[in-house]
């Protein structure tokens, strides 16, 4: 893994580590956001759940016209309640061998827990990523799309500022 290619996000939650770990894993479907940006199935009926344990996996299912589809999002590589959970993480547009790495830590902090997600491995993707050859996977396109959207917004603001002056 390349240093500096991780996204790192932390949150303080006012519950003990054991509860935080439990909610994070067994209740994931209850808090994982819905909609296109967060679930492969978008707004279709579906579920995201862990098969718990050190050999476990993370799945998302969703309903289609021709039945229920199941996508394996991740494979658990570390399952150490209440401290740590690691996964190999794949988005729906990843090729067979492409994967990223998610590491979640639960650290006791005063009367609660600091939960930190470190999502790494992104720099390994671009070289032969489908998007680079014009085969745009939806998730990747959204990522790039929002990046370009931001740039275009910055541009519009810049132009508006220049017009004002």
């Amino acid at each position: 893994m390349t240093p500096g290619d991780a996204a790192i996000v932390s949150v303080f939650v006012a519950v003990p580590p054991a509860a935080a770990f439990d909610v994070f894993t067994t209740e994931i479907d209850l808090w994982w956001r819905t909609g296109r940006k967060f679930r492969i199935g978008g707004r279709r009926a579906g579920r995201i759940y862990f098969e718990p344990g050190p050999e476990g996996r993370l799945f998302e299912t969703f309903e289609t016209g021709s039945g229920t589809r199941t996508f394996e999002v991740g494979k658990v590589t570390t399952w150490e309640p209440p401290n740590r959970l690691s996964l190999e993480w794949r988005s729906v547009n990843f090729k067979a061998k492409q994967k990223t790495f998610v590491d979640v830590t639960f650290e006791p902090m005063r009367d609660g827990t600091t939960v930190t997600v470190r999502h790494a491995g992104w720099s390994a993707l671009p070289a032969d990523h489908p998007a680079r050859h014009g085969l745009e996977g939806p998730a990747f396109t959204r990522m790039l799309g929002s990046f370009w959207g931001d740039l275009m917004t910055a541009l519009r603001e810049y132009v508006a500022r220049s017009d004002d002056s």
Partner: protein, 114 residues
Amino acid sequence: MSDLDQTLAALSDPTRRKVVELLRKKPRPAGELARAFGMSPPAMSRHLRTLRQSGLVEEEHGGEDARVRVYRLRREPFGELRGWLEDVEAFWSAELDSFKAHAERTRGKAKTPR
């Protein structure tokens, strides 16, 4: 001029913005870009030079014919990886906010004992 200023200045021209939009799909030879905009090659060449100087695009030699120069979008000036990571961080921030709200609602104590 900062990198961002230079990028934005290069993109402040509508033709150059459209060139960038076209190059998002795939790299293209300069001649093809000129034709797409109904422009003379020298006029297009001036736009491409500005884009190149701002670091937004780069030219490469196109395959068998070394005389054909193909333009492609560069990602580095946009802090490509940084851009993705910011998206990934925005994604996880949203998820963790939602996680926190749910965990505290269902497992949190109404009042923290002292």
